[in-house]
């Protein structure tokens, strides 16, 4: 079984106009350290290529064991208004949770 973000963290997505921000909040310090190494901007961009042109920027908030990912240029409908069902991108936190990390789950 691959370890996913959901095993280590919880997430919330928010609307930033043409971008979406998704927090990734580790349950503990070990999870934070592992996510800091493995949940790179490239890995997140790869999971969102069908939905956004990017770039993806990661901001680190170690004091609250969290990361803020800002994913820019969500596709569909130009800059400011989209035909998508999820017009704000709020459901995208759940896609973040599915991202698999390179290592295996410890048994």
């Amino acid at each position: 079984m691959k370890l996913t973000v959901r095993d280590l963290a919880h997430c919330r997505a928010g609307d930033k106009g043409h971008a979406v921000n998704i927090s990734v909040i580790a349950y503990d310090s070990a999870g934070y350290d592992r996510l800091a190494r493995e949940l790179t901007e490239e890995r997140v961009m790869a999971a969102f290529t069908a939905l956004a042109d990017g770039p993806v920027t990661r901001y680190d908030l170690p004091k609250v064991k969290a990361f803020n990912f800002v994913i820019e240029h969500l596709r569909g409908g130009g800059v400011t208004a989209t035909a998508a069902l999820d017009i704000h991108g709020k459901s995208l936190s759940s896609l973040m949770l599915t991202i698999a990390l390179p290592g295996n789950e410890p048994s």
Binding site: R12, G14, H18, L61, K63, G76, A83, L95
Partner: protein, 448 residues
């Protein structure tokens, strides 16, 4: 005389929010203020269009019901109310509020109305201003502008409170600023006291979406459980004159306030956490730590403010064509294949009829409508076809729903439960306006 602390409740996190938790806060949390934040990005532009049809409307459509329930509780407990329910018509909203107060037997209720956020004329008169999102000049959208509103700061809210009015009614004010206004007023802080504005902004930011910090938008059953979500309480903050901040909820209310819920809300709708720009300051969140300080109590520490920018952010709402949509469901054996065929048929028929769209999405709710398609997802038992197109032409938009409906007799077997709709699109872009161009003022509306 300045107080040593003030307690402020969040009564709403968006225009249509519930108000039972607000009444619970007023009655049981010992709060001094209740703040109803009721404006999303497009709300004012949409209410401006409503006001064009009916000049006495244009404020929050739930205001009448909400105020009728909330004002008597505020009067009984001596709680002052601050709200952005004024939307595109703060004066009209204030008059309606005074009318509701009289009808409820509340004597002498006065509303202080904060005006000046509506900069539609100012922006329209500066065609060379650059839109932040596209870089195009404002000129490119001027004929289609519905409304342009500046995000006003906490100083305007403080000025309105100085009048002694029980209710402060506003249009566009930055969400945290609605909460910082009462802090400035009660704690004797100067508007340039950046030593406390960071903590104040963090408190306002955590409160602005109400239930989202007390366990709303949080539950993932079995993983992140929330007690009594149906009875979700709203938050309050206790802010000390020295800048201490504690977030809490009423003990009997459902939900939870802990480091996890507060962290999710801290980073909500944030871009660069070292520079969260509000009209009051530039907040650096990266020094913030959150500490459980009791049951359903979280202390916020370490927020740092840098001086405010010389500009106000202005949101411009403008008309940007139409979205036409049709939906139809398929269930049982081969449901996905039948729904996909239906989608192809609609796309082909729209083309045959010479209808063109700037964007046409054909997707299956249950498969690929939220996160796009992926190979490894199981096929669901039932799916819902969704066809949606964007066009400047209203009739072309309407035809999408009609075309989906014809699948009943002209499409694959077993389609059911059609829906069609057309929406006029309100797009939003932003500009920055020098502060000195935006003139705010406070107007009083007395007992009616």
């Amino acid at each position: 005389m300045a107080k040593s602390s003030v307690r402020i409740g969040a009564g709403a996190g968006f225009a249509g929010d519930r108000w039972e938790p607000a009444i619970e806060l007023i009655e049981r949390a010992g709060i001094d203020y209740i703040v109803f934040e009721c404006l999303a990005e497009r709300t004012i532009a949409r209410e401006t269009l409503t006001r064009r049809q009916n000049p006495s409307a244009g404020y929050n459509p739930r205001l009448e019901n909400r105020m009728a329930e909330v004002l008597p509780a505020c009067a009984r407990h001596g709680v002052r109310l601050v709200t952005s329910q004024g939307a595109a018509n703060p004066l009209g909203a204030a008059r309606k509020t005074c009318e509701i107060a009289s009808a409820a037997g509340i004597q002498d209720l006065r509303c202080a109305v904060l005006l000046g956020d509506d900069v539609t004329e100012l922006v329209s008169a500066q065609p060379d201003l650059r839109l932040l999102e596209t870089g195009d000049p404002v000129e490119s959208i001027v004929p289609r502008i519905a409304a342009a509103n500046a995000y006003l700061g906490a100083d305007g809210v403080r000025d309105a409170l100085t009048t002694g009015a029980q209710v402060v009614m506003t249009g566009r004010v930055a969400d945290p600023s609605l909460f910082i206004g009462p802090m400035l007023h009660e704690l004797g802080w100067s508007y340039d006291n950046y030593g406390v504005l960071g903590q104040a902004s963090a408190a306002g930011h955590l409160l602005e979406c109400a239930g989202q910090v007390t366990g709303g938008y949080f539950a993932d059953p079995g993983v992140k459980d929330v007690r009594a979500l149906a009875r979700l309480g709203f938050p309050f903050a206790e802010i000390g004159a020295d800048g201490t901040v504690v977030i809490g909820k009423v003990e009997e209310a459902g939900g939870r306030v802990d480091v996890q819920t507060c962290t999710e809300q801290l980073i909500y709708e944030v871009h660069d956490p070292t520079a969260y720009v509000t009209p009051d300051c530039v907040l650096d969140m990266t020094g913030i730590s959150l500490r459980a300080s009791g049951r359903d109590r979280v202390a916020i520490e370490g927020a740092v403010a840098r001086p405010r920018t010389p500009t106000y952010k202005v949101s411009i709402g403008y008309l940007d064509g139409y979205l036409g949509e049709g939906q139809l469901s398929y269930g049982g054996p081969n449901a996905v294949a039948r729904a996909r065929l239906a989608g192809e048929v609609v796309r082909e028929r729209l083309k045959q009829r010479g209808l063109h769209y700037d964007e046409l999405r054909v997707e299956l709710i249950g498969i690929d409508s939220l996160h796009g398609s992926a190979d490894n997802r199981p096929e669901p038992y039932e799916v819902r076809l969704r066809v949606v197109g964007r066009t400047p032409n209203r009739r072309a938009a309407e035809e999408i729903g009609w075309e989906v409906e014809t699948l009943y007799t002209n499409g694959p077997s077993g389609g059911a439960g059609d829906l069609r709709q057309v929406r006029e699109v309100l797009a939003v872009q932003s500009v920055l306006l020098p502060r000195e161009l935006v003139k705010t003022r406070v107007e009083m509306v007395g007992p009616l």
